[in-house]
Symmetry: C3
Subunit: 432 residues, 3 copies
Amino acid sequence: MNRVMRHSISACALGVGLAMAVNAMAGPDTDKELLDVLLKKGTITRSEYDELLKTTEDEVGVSTHGGRLRFKSADAEFEVGGRLMVDTAIFDNNDDLHNGSEIRRARLFMSGEVYDNWKFKLQTDFAGNEVTLKDAYIRYTGLEYADITVGNFKEPWSLEELTSSKYITFMERALPVEAFAPSRRLGIGGHSHSDGGLNWTAGYGVFGDSVNADNNDGSNEGSGTAVRLTMAPIAEKGRVVHFGGYGEWRSPTDSEVRYRARPEAHIANERLVDTGTINNVDHTVKWGLEAAAVMGPFSLQGEYMRVDNDVNGGDDPTFSGWYAYGSWFLTGEPRAYKTSSGTFDRVKPKSIVGKGGIGAWELGTRFSSIDLNDAGITGGKEQDLTIGLNWYATPTIRFMANYIKVMDLTDPQNVTDDSEPNIFEMRAQIDF
Amino acid sequence: MNRVMRHSISACALGVGLAMAVNAMAGPDTDKELLDVLLKKGTITRSEYDELLKTTEDEVGVSTHGGRLRFKSADAEFEVGGRLMVDTAIFDNNDDLHNGSEIRRARLFMSGEVYDNWKFKLQTDFAGNEVTLKDAYIRYTGLEYADITVGNFKEPWSLEELTSSKYITFMERALPVEAFAPSRRLGIGGHSHSDGGLNWTAGYGVFGDSVNADNNDGSNEGSGTAVRLTMAPIAEKGRVVHFGGYGEWRSPTDSEVRYRARPEAHIANERLVDTGTINNVDHTVKWGLEAAAVMGPFSLQGEYMRVDNDVNGGDDPTFSGWYAYGSWFLTGEPRAYKTSSGTFDRVKPKSIVGKGGIGAWELGTRFSSIDLNDAGITGGKEQDLTIGLNWYATPTIRFMANYIKVMDLTDPQNVTDDSEPNIFEMRAQIDF
Amino acid sequence: MNRVMRHSISACALGVGLAMAVNAMAGPDTDKELLDVLLKKGTITRSEYDELLKTTEDEVGVSTHGGRLRFKSADAEFEVGGRLMVDTAIFDNNDDLHNGSEIRRARLFMSGEVYDNWKFKLQTDFAGNEVTLKDAYIRYTGLEYADITVGNFKEPWSLEELTSSKYITFMERALPVEAFAPSRRLGIGGHSHSDGGLNWTAGYGVFGDSVNADNNDGSNEGSGTAVRLTMAPIAEKGRVVHFGGYGEWRSPTDSEVRYRARPEAHIANERLVDTGTINNVDHTVKWGLEAAAVMGPFSLQGEYMRVDNDVNGGDDPTFSGWYAYGSWFLTGEPRAYKTSSGTFDRVKPKSIVGKGGIGAWELGTRFSSIDLNDAGITGGKEQDLTIGLNWYATPTIRFMANYIKVMDLTDPQNVTDDSEPNIFEMRAQIDF
């Protein structure tokens, strides 16, 4: 390298300062700004300006800002990355629920925007040595009032579900979210939102089944329609008030449904509440309400959700659940809210571990409740109290510890001999 | 960024125009051109020229041109990308063939060329939440008359099979291609082609089994030899005449073969024609003939293919099939032909959707036929008529709609109660 | 491109030499060197220097040096790559062990360092159309005396096991290494090493089970503690003396263990030695000794390893094995040793195939031995003599041929009817 440097210097030293700066450009937008300045100063002529402007279209800026690898040119943008979460869990009734460790998520993705208005993402998870397609979609952003997405992506249903696993406050989503949320399905959907004002968002779409539902087994693929509406009349940094509601009507695959949840610990080898398969279901209606608030380092979040099952020639069981939690950043950071999607976003610690800082520290406590007993179905009841401590070493690296006390458990499967487990679990997480 | 810009300007504004342009270079070849010009103009001296020339070897150009991410330096080149296809299908006899949707292909790859003459590609498919290794090879391109490839790649057999799924005219390849083409196998092969003249190509190789054929199950891995010869006496843009032939001799794994095909809809949960497993097969000979022509926006393509099975101590069944199709680009684009491989290539629409254009629109119709009845084997007969409409929104994004009428079906498995299904299917596709 | 070039030239030709050179920079460290020079020469002022220094933090250098794709900025570094190995094997007793070919390894990874002191790697293998998570960890390098790693990575146990499959001398690791080495597990560990002096290294950690051990099957996940200590009193290029020892104490999952090995040919569909599952194992102690030396193009390497199994209420079987080998680079290259890890590293051929060279040629011979008979367990005995020829076409591309003579076989499973197979196997390998 040194040799390279010296040759360059002998050739013409003058341009070098700029050359380095140019490498730092995130893309052609900044180039245009620069050309504007140069034109104004008279350094370049108008015709030179015009010609140079054209050349910026082929430039590609490379960025590692924020610990992520991105490429950007005038009409294309790419990102290559992933996430890794390593978990361990201890159960006090280790005879029923076995202590252990696992890779919770191991994902790689490539995403981008090409030809100005076409976005895509292809993301796979390799946890447990199995492949699971996650986001896998094509999106058109050229319409004025809505972005259209086709492929595999999350149905617009539940604030907690739609907030990325990279950013959720506790290690696992709350009991009713795990049991009821449709999560990703193959479908086509739209997303609209206001710029400012009430900061409303609207997500809507029609969806088939999940990717791994093998159509070749002769099953009749179900389909559903979902919609979610949110608003955030206050949405400043550190000051947010958010409300929303959502619903899904679905005709299930092979007229079968099943609702179940682990005790907010993914390593648990048993679900404590589980309806088993319910047959002859004509359709289900799943709906919920959500609210959240951020006041500086404090935040609150909660949801109520309910599932009505319409059974052909039988009783119609209804299940429901809710959760509420509070979070406090001891180091003063506010939870970040994304107005365009109506979900929570990445927290950026004020100081960074490894660069002399202590990172961000967050305390949280959650109460969650689910009732899967109704109309002859005895799926059980459960309430979990969770206390969580999160340490954000950097914006992309987080360590989590959760203590969970299972309470008021009605456990029809007798998994735990009616004892209510205490759980301690920890996670190391990075996204890139 | 603005701060960065201003610092740079204060340092030395002069170099900036060039610095930006240099970022746009695709690689060191263009750098050399530039140095040539500068030397000629006297901007740099001969000794500066020589020294600078050496430095270009370490330069890496980044390109997002055409919606794909590439890296290129003097002696290495890398590409990271993939493809995503999202399908949905409707069958009029939904009791037998179930409507549904799926991710048809979800692939990521990394490929490149290192140390001048060594190429590689590693490509995986994750559709259906399963891993399938696709192209996975090392290639040496340093010989004068042939490129040598070792690894997992397509046997040289059939124009339709060898044309990438990104570029085929209909959503699925024709009935006999699905039933007979060996596709990718582990092997070693050569590829030669003329530069101009008759534009001939020759592909040849010896191949073992497919990647997922687990040798550990105690099976005797089969092996085969394949060759394909093509020529294109006319091969200009919008004016192509192509002929070819191909053959494969194979000793099958465990002396077993099976030929079957879905009704040109991959979501179909049943194959309508299927020989079942044929045992005691000493060897098979598969061969075919191919022809194609492009006349401006019109093109024709067809193949005839046949399989002779040599059964030890039994009758030798022979199966065959053919297809022919025509395509017309309403927007005037010609189908693109690649002389080095004798296959069809990416169509570039004249205008791009999202940038004010309407993309390219293509109408096609195909007739395909297969006969799997012979010498006591009753695999069935089928003829499919397909009408297709393709919309190329950008060079890398395509939407397809196919209507398929199954005809003259002899369906020994009675999958469809002898009814002949009508199928409507659609695809959204991107490659990057 | 030509148009771009010309525009640039007309704008200002002077900066171009430098601009190209800057592209070649590997990162901001070299930029700082350059600014130092420019400041000294008076080309830039001190205040310009200070301001420009700040801008270098956002620069990203792209490198394809050595056939690998890397990105580097002031506080982040990324690498995207993989490896591909294509094997074929012939057995002289083809009735028992079936000839065949396979993709031995097909890996992609993304790794990096973010926020100065945080490293990560996420690597997956797709060989055999199955997913296997390999390195998947987060590492903190900000401590003075140790790097801390959490996730899935190799336990510090055995020189041969810890040397990458890209760099091992023979196609497969020796019999006892395959049978006994714990390889990758979920865990947390530290690694320390001296800078110079005795070149000692210390690896240590506590580990759970492997990634694919599904905790949900109700098994009790085992755990272990491992440590490895090495030193290299001589460690110059072409002159190395290395010693080490290692041990692991483990309480196995479900109190079950099994030791077995293929005959140093992965395509072999049977393991010739195999203890079968041993139950009621309270704990195991696995330990070994290692030594290696490099004398110019010659090198020696060997290990002795032993496993003590503590069975509850039964005899305690002890198994052991060893191997020793010599390697000679006909073309004079020395084996490369990495002092920071106490393992062997990439060999760089003196000349490169495809650029007029012949690459590096290496001859090796290995003797390996394993004894799985003890205390009523009859897992068998085996000794293998291997002769290997390696051709390093480039630093990242290697072709290997191994002849293996199985000897002194006691084969309790009667896989081969007590005959001792001769094996010939070959590999084509690239990493990127």
